[in-house]
């Protein structure tokens, strides 16, 4: 019943019902502009600084470069060369891909199968088990760290990619199952009845009917989980450990902070590299991105 509502509002969105012509006046527009400007300044400062010459960064504010954009020797890409090479951000980028892609696909797959079973296959204990999943939605990750670390050093999963995948899968599962269940349980019953009449097994129904229809929900969760894993510092610190070989974007940036704390040209370039892929996803898939963010929040 609530499913079609967003589609309807999206079409009527451009003209909001309570927008009087008079109030669309200058003060509102100016304040909107000012807010947007203020919100962007910090990121702009980072971006500008990352392509400035190191000597100039420490002697003048980054805003002075914008006033004199054609000054000699002003801009350089050497900061990026340096952090990607000796700063280790290049290797960390690859490590982040190694960590993030399976840590996104594995929980989605496992959650989709589980959500389908919770929604459409009757079995004993279904209600109580799903209630547990809902309860686990808000359990802080901190509750798991100490026992997982003990478990991992016993199973030689500490400091491995497999270990991080499993951890991110476990931590991401409650939300993934909950979101996909909400979506899959609202698919029309007729679909499943006619599939059963045609003699389709649950596995076939799931792959041929449920998965293709669930792409919006799967995509929304994928973006949410991708961002969370890509930007995660805590799990990487705890499970990948201090090894330089295994640094991912956030831990590599943290290492830069520790070793080159005062060198803003490297910190800004490094920080921008960590933001590159999420920003790209954001700009290319903005609508799905919004859906992912909205979906990730809706718990009531």
């Amino acid at each position: 019943m609530s499913a079609p509502a967003p589609a309807v509002t999206r079409h009527t969105a451009p003209v909001s019902p309570w927008r009087p012509a008079l109030l669309r006046s200058l003060p509102v527009r100016i304040s909107v502009f000012v807010i947007c400007f203020l919100w962007t300044i910090p990121t702009l400062g980072l971006l500008v600084t990352s392509i400035r010459n190191p000597e100039q960064i420490s002697s003048t504010g980054w805003w002075t470069a914008l006033l004199n954009p054609f000054g000699a020797n002003q801009w350089t890409l050497s900061n990026y060369q340096q952090v990607i090479g000796s700063g280790g951000m290049g290797a960390a980028f690859l490590n982040s891909l190694i960590v993030t892609i399976p840590s996104t696909v594995i929980p989605i797959t496992i959650a989709a199968f589980a959500a389908y079973a919770f929604a459409w296959i009757p079995f004993r204990g279904r209600g109580i088990l799903f209630t547990v999943v809902v309860g686990l939605l808000v359990v802080p990750i901190q509750m798991s760290l100490i026992p997982i670390l003990k478990l991992y050093s016993g199973a030689s999963l500490y400091g491995t990619f497999v270990g991080v995948w499993l951890a991110h899968t476990g931590f991401g599962l409650p939300l993934a199952i909950f979101l996909l269940y909400t979506f899959i349980s609202q698919l029309p019953r007729d679909l499943f009845e006619s599939a059963a009449i045609d003699g389709a097994t649950h596995l076939q129904t799931f792959i041929r009917i449920v998965l293709p229809l669930s792409i919006p929900a799967l995509g929304a969760f994928a973006i949410f989980q991708f961002l969370w894993v890509w930007n995660d510092l805590l799990v990487a610190l705890v499970i990948l450990g201090p090894s330089t070989d295994l640094r991912v974007m956030p831990t590599a940036l943290y290492a830069l902070l520790g070793s080159r704390g005062g060198q803003w040209q490297l910190l800004t370039a490094g920080a921008f590299i960590t933001m590159l892929l999420p920003l790209l996803v954001f700009l290319l898939l903005q609508r799905a991105f919004v859906r992912g963010i909205l979906a990730g929040s809706v718990k009531s």
Binding site: T9, T43, W63, M143, L237, W264
Partner: protein, 388 residues
Amino acid sequence: MAVGERTANPPLSRFLLPILGVVALGLCIGGVIILINPHGGQNLLAALYDALGNSSGATDLRNGHGDQLLAKVILAVIAVGVGVGGIWLLYLGVGGMVGMLRPAWRDRILPWVFVGPALVLLATFLVYPGIATVARSLFDGQGHFTLDNYAVMTSPEMVEILRNNVIWLIAATGGSVILGLVIAGLFDRIRREALAKTFIFLPLAISLIGASVIWGFMYAWEPAEQPQIGLLNAIIVAAGGQAIPFFTTSPLNIGAEIVIMVWLQTGFAMVVLSAAIKGVSTEIIEAARLDGANEPQLFFRVIVPSIRGSIVTVTTTIAIATLKIFDIIYVTTGGRFHDDVVANRMFHEMFQFFNDGRAAALASLLFVAVLPVMYLNLRNFRRQQVEA
């Protein structure tokens, strides 16, 4: 595709599919073995070089030089193949095998094939560790019951940490929600709404540590005789003031760190609340307007009450994120200037002081703090189940 083939040509697929399955399974196991080894990528490439007769390249690799990047790319491909392929193989393989059983058995086992992996992972990564953490906080090394780990919470140092968490909870959550609400309401009145919202929303894609670097540069402080390269201190100095070392000045540093969180989370609040505002029915708004409500009244007395549910959702989501705040403190000050919080302290108890009991008690404290939200979630869920 494979399913279609099977119906068209059963004898072939009957042999082909199991063989392919076994091969894929072997590849996955091999891949996992390579991945468990910290130098798996290098060793594999070195072995390849040996086989090709390039022994100097192989030696370089084993000594940590040579084509490290190529080794890393190979590792990445294997990792993605194993992680993504392995999980599908598991389901299709086991699901297919269960499908061959007699119907009575099949129907009994199949649901557990679908939910089993999820339940095992939830039990391993959330349920068991949660119980173990609470237990660890309540028993000492010899297995005797003790409340010592909680008794420490009354020390002045810990009281300060708890106070800081409360400040965070109120200021960061309140700040993000109120700003998000005002911006959503304001932006709803302009023509290029989507474009304007993008600016506020963009920081959501940025990690907490990335945002900390961004704002660390905004707050940058230099001694008085040097030029201020941080924007905020440059403004203060230009206005005739004295530059402030934001991160080391207590209690200002807590506010400076909270600003980072608000900058990130306001976009989230704005997006959710903006969607809710657009869902408020036109009739209610028109009726209020006919009754003579002015625009601020309309916003605060009609629109805000109608989107109460969304406001609660946004508030609890941001509050939970704020409660667990770790990254910002860990990377800006490490909590060394009277700005420590529970999650950061827990990390240091674990890895610096090796005091698992106290770390477990701090984690349990966070857990207790989210219990009301868990209760609300469960109640809402039950209510929906009854309605459905």
